[in-house]
Amino acid sequence: MQRIFYIIQKEFRQIFRDPAMIGVLFVVPFIQIVLLGNAITTDVKNVTVVFTDLDRTPMSRDFLQRFTHTPYFIPVGVEEDYTALPEWLDYGRARIAIVVPEHFQRDIIRGDRPAVQLLVDGIDGNSAGVALSYLSHIAQEHQAQVIALEPQLGRPLRTVRLASTETRFWFNPEMESKVYIVPGIVALILLIITVFLTSMGIVREKEIGTLEQLMVTPIRAWQLILGKILPFSILGFLEITVAMGFVYLIFGIGVEGSILLLFFESAVFVLTTLGIGIFISTISETQQQALFVGWFFMIFAILLSGFFIPIANMPDAIQYLTYLNPLRYYLVVLREIYLKGTPLHLLIPETLAMMAFGVGVFGMAVLRYRRILK
């Protein structure tokens, strides 16, 4: 039992041998949170727009004016001739081109539906879709105003809206993506620390030959494994605690739910990442290899977790695949606890899934590691 303590003591000595390490412990989460929290945004802002107004009436001018009054769009030009518009998109000078047709005003007053043409640069499909929904929102607003003019027009309009929806977003009222992203960064920090440090820490002993030296001592395999993974787990938890502090200080986002529950769920999740770390160490001979395999795994885990891309937007087959990704559950749990204060009994399915993965992956990795030691 004491031997585990000696290994842990040795690990911490090695980790803190470098005074820079303490800086890294605090500076890295700070930078990650500030940079990623602000940079990774799915909010669509500053979309460049170019217009052609073939109608040139008060109503068409009013319609186009609306685009200049929002932070979402930046008008970058006006073309007399709509055939010149594709060039704006080709050269990337504008991402959306809007053509207001002739007789726009006349058709509206008549009650016909004039068709406004939109050319959208669809390369970034996600934000193009968001921009498009802003656009139709603007068009609706315009329509509502026109309907308000009805008495002046002295005749009923054919398109009358019977009901309108008024949407309020809960838990993230401003619909800011950083509220959504930031708890995810906390999850990533824990993932990265535990997977990389564990795999590299074990492979390092293999690389410099000390593993063999340890093996000729009376230490048992499980003592060695525990001694290797505990320091990195402790470090991981220290790191996310620091990270959560920064999240509160910088973004003012605190943990709504129970911090204890958050740590409990993190501990369940860490079983899987430690298992993966150990597994990587059993298939790598050098730290570089471990790093490479670690990244390979990490990219899939992050992309298929719903961290950037909402899982609901993925094709069905891929959506099923995400059920195999433990990070998916952890992100859900973390966001629920962080932003909504969800209690444990509502998170049971995710918790059980993570436990199953944890016990499975960790168990198999340890068995494999022991076999290699023997």
Partner: protein, 310 residues
């Protein structure tokens, strides 16, 4: 015979590569025993099996009655193993490395101070106690590694080429330490490719390509040779050793700088050999009888072995 270690018909292969074949030897307590042979002789495989890092394919190995395939933990607690490559933590200090291994071997805290002092005394590493192991010189690294393997007072010390790549002064110092340890009753197995170091051992086994070619005390092995050996000091004929090799009565010829060592067949007398060689070269030669060195023994053993094989 109270053998501390007995190796019986030990064989080990890596895939189709036969690393060691049918190796047997015994070592008594307190002996300094050498595994001698070039790279690929099977020395490391034998040692790694002895310290339970590998399992024999066939045959048995016992250390103090413990079976290396079964009593793994017993063997590990009475042996100290120093691999060929430096395998300590370069980012921990000399002192931290020593204490870490002391902890793992459960050295009682009360005894630790005395043991450290003793190890520092013979290794002379005390002034470097706080230096990182990675910043030590080659010789000091080897002494630290040796100290770490001695921390738990092992009965048996297994050292894999401890002096390879170490400067001559440190090598000499290292061997002095080994002799001191033997005097204290520690049994030591050491491997080396150097024949001059083999002479420092009580007994040796000469290995080549996984087989034991001979074993015994270095003096006995030289004695056993019985082959008449002559030196021919003539820088002009060195390049013509192939001619001499073809001469009747000559077994083999080795060059040592501007000297040729000629091994003759048993029973060949000096006068007739001198005549035959002079005839072959076309001028007079002077042969000088010499005692064979361990290196000569080794080379002639290998030649005998390869002649057997063909």
């Amino acid at each position: 015979m109270d053998a501390l270690i007995s190796v019986e018909h030990f064989s080990k292969s890596y895939g189709s590569q036969k690393a060691v074949q049918d190796l047997s030897f015994e070592i008594r307590g307190g002996e300094l025993f050498g595994l001698i042979g070039p790279d690929g002789a099977g020395k490391t495989t034998t040692m790694r099996t002895l310290v339970t890092l590998l399992r024999p394919d066939s045959g048995t190995m016992h250390v103090q009655g413990f079976d290396v395939s079964k009593d793994i933990r017993n063997i590990r607690s009475i042996t100290g193993y120093m691999p060929q490559r430096f395998s300590l933590y370069p980012d921990l200090s000399v002192d931290q490395n020593l204490r870490f291994f002391a902890d793992l071997f459960a050295v009682p805290k009360k005894e630790l101070a005395a043991r450290l002092e003793r190890l520092y005394h013979f290794s002379r590493l005390q002034p470097f106690a706080n230096r990182l192991a990675g910043r030590l010189s080659g010789g000091m690294k080897q002494k630290l590694a040796l100290s770490c393997t001695l921390i738990h007072n092992p009965v048996l010390l297994v050292l894999d080429e401890p002096t390879t790549g170490v400067d001559p002064v440190s090598r000499n110092e290292f061997w002095n330490i080994l002799r001191e340890l033997r005097a204290q009753g520690v049994t030591i197995i050491v491997s080396t490719p150097y024949m001059d170091e083999a002479l420092f051992c009580d007994r040796i086994v000469i290995m080549h390509e996984g087989r034991a070619l001979a074993q015994g005390t270095p003096a006995a092995l030289i004695e056993q040779m019985q082959l008449p050996m002559y030196a021919l000091r003539d820088s002009d004929v060195v390049m013509r050793f192939a001619v001499i090799e073809q001469t009747p009565g000559v077994v083999s010829v080795q060059t040592f700088g501007d000297t040729l060592h000629i091994t003759a067949e048993i029973g060949t007398d000096e006068a007739s050999l001198t005549r035959s060689i002079a005839a072959a070269l076309g001028h007079d030669v002077v042969l000088e009888p010499i005692a064979p060195s361990l290196e000569d023994v080794f080379i002639s053993l290998i030649e005998k072995e390869t002649r057997h094989a063909t």
